[in-house]
Symmetry: none
């Protein structure tokens, strides 16, 4: 039997793509990505039929990675603000731990090369976040009358800004993290 396609190599390519895209945008050459991944140029295409598919897979992979991190140690029984804060903190943890993924995702989010289907699939990954919002609404912890998607969009936007400042200013990272949370909690909380 021949070598089988390895999940490992696929992941190496995705990681390399994240780095490449973070540094050079979606225009990062596949040859650079191959080099970063330590594979031959052609090997990219045995794992991803073309560059667009690689980019879309990267987008989804980043979203999944984020979601997974966000729910690590999730305190299911804690009061809702605490759970929001948990998710918030994990979000920023992820961004600090995976700078390439964070920056690449920012590039991909504004790129025309990510299809509507992929974006929809990316939102689906965060389906359980909707549950958190619904519960927050029902319990009166969150401000009423805002579409959940809009709230989520604002949180994402503020989180990105916060991560950007944390990354630029590591010494004050903890301050930004807290200030960011306070800002969004005031923005969306019913307090």
């Amino acid at each position: 039997m021949a070598r089988l396609k390895s999940e490992e190599k696929r992941n190496a390519i995705l990681a390399a793509a994240a780095q490449g895209v973070a540094e050079r945008g979606v225009g990062a050459p596949t040859s650079l990505i191959a080099k970063l991944a330590g594979v031959a140029e052609g090997s990219i295409f045995t794992y991803f039929a073309d560059k667009d598919l690689l980019l879309n897979a990267l987008y989804l992979s980043a979203k999944s990675s984020l979601r997974e991190t966000m729910y690590e140690g999730y305190p299911s029984r804690a009061p809702i603000e605490e759970r929001f804060e948990h998710v918030w903190n994990r979000y920023l943890d992820w961004g600090m731990a995976e700078p390439a993924l964070r920056i690449a995702m920012a590039q991909l989010t504004v790129s025309e090369r990510i299809t509507a289907d992929t974006r929809a699939e990316g939102e689906r990954v965060f389906g359980d976040i909707a549950g958190l919002f619904n519960e927050g609404m029902a319990s009166g912890a969150l401000r009423q009358g805002q579409p959940i998607g809009f709230m989520a969009g604002i949180i994402t936007a503020v989180a990105e800004t916060t991560m950007h400042f944390m990354a630029q200013n590591p010494a004050q990272a903890a301050d930004y993290r807290r200030a960011g949370f306070e800002a969004i909690w005031r923005a969306i909380g019913s307090g």
Copy 2:
């Protein structure tokens, strides 16, 4: 005497670049931009020595356009919240009036091709915004202890999100506009 370089043509190129970048990202071909501008491919380069300079000029031009719109009819003597709201509303007006510019700016903001100098210059354009923040802080209208840049970043992020939702959902545009303002005012106001 030779014809002067026409400011008009330069502007046509910038507008075309905005459209091109909005639709195809920073990878939009200069040939496409030339076509959109109604000039010859080569003419781009009599106005901008290379594509990076064009992109950086576009970034600055978009920032200036935004700043200018924001201060139209600025109520210098009104209470500070009203002035913030004015600026907020004008920001969103600009985004709705200039969708290409708005989207292009989002692309450029995350692109490696915009230099640090250009970014700094872009912030300088909004220098008087800093005055508004300082005054807000001094008067106690804004929450204390946050770096002005961070506040401004959050506002920008929320504004972009709001514009995105307004554009997607024109019927509810007014609702998003107000909800967005309430969210940021709670986030940064001392209220």
Copy 3:
């Protein structure tokens, strides 16, 4: 003891190559040929050291297949025109029965990738045809003074044209077959 290279598999590859070349020309990928043959990509190269050898083997295989068909039921004792007509009819039978082989051979015949040696070997396969011509000349049945190779070339060319029309127009196939024979018989017969 290891399995023997299976003649069957070799033939499957040749048949797949015929189909591939018929459909996509000599540029048909070896990976396509492998898929059509139902073998792994690498297996092609245990039967044929490289693609050129495969192509040359296919050429010869097609010629042999044709020759074999032509002589099936050959009426050794019949008058010469009848023997010519037999050969003619078998030729066309072969073309109709093996369209992939027929078309592939047309592609290979004009390809630079078939070596002079292979072409010579291909002619050798039809050596006994020369005997038929010689006898025809000697008996006065064929026009004098033409090089045998030229006559054979003309017959081949007319046969290919005839097969093309038969394939395009199956309803009139019998008419073309007869018309084709009459044409070449007038062309080369002494009548």
Copy 4:
């Protein structure tokens, strides 16, 4: 004003393509064609949007070239056999004068890359040949009951064979030319 696309350069590319295809088949690299034409690799694509269009244009250009040569000095009032012979001779003249075009056309004719539309257009170019056949039929000079397309196909096939032998054997070229004509005239004439 800039340099204008020159018919001359377009023709140089077509001539280079003919040479390239004659020598290496339709797989001849565009880079080779560019080099043969003495232009940059990219220039090919300012004249032909892609390689397929170049190949199809070459096919048509070869057909036109042939047709034009065939009708040079056409003896409109001569008896029909003489006119057929004129056309025949010019056909072979063309093949001897333009070996690259002749061989390239043979390659293109069997290639999948020439579209049905292009083939139809190629036949249209020879429309007046149909007139010659019709007249031949009406006057009784040609054998009755054969589709014109079939006759034309046979002539083409025999001409190609004849040119092949003439090219291989220049010393006997005149003999082949005459023998070829006699063969086709017996094949299609009513004599």
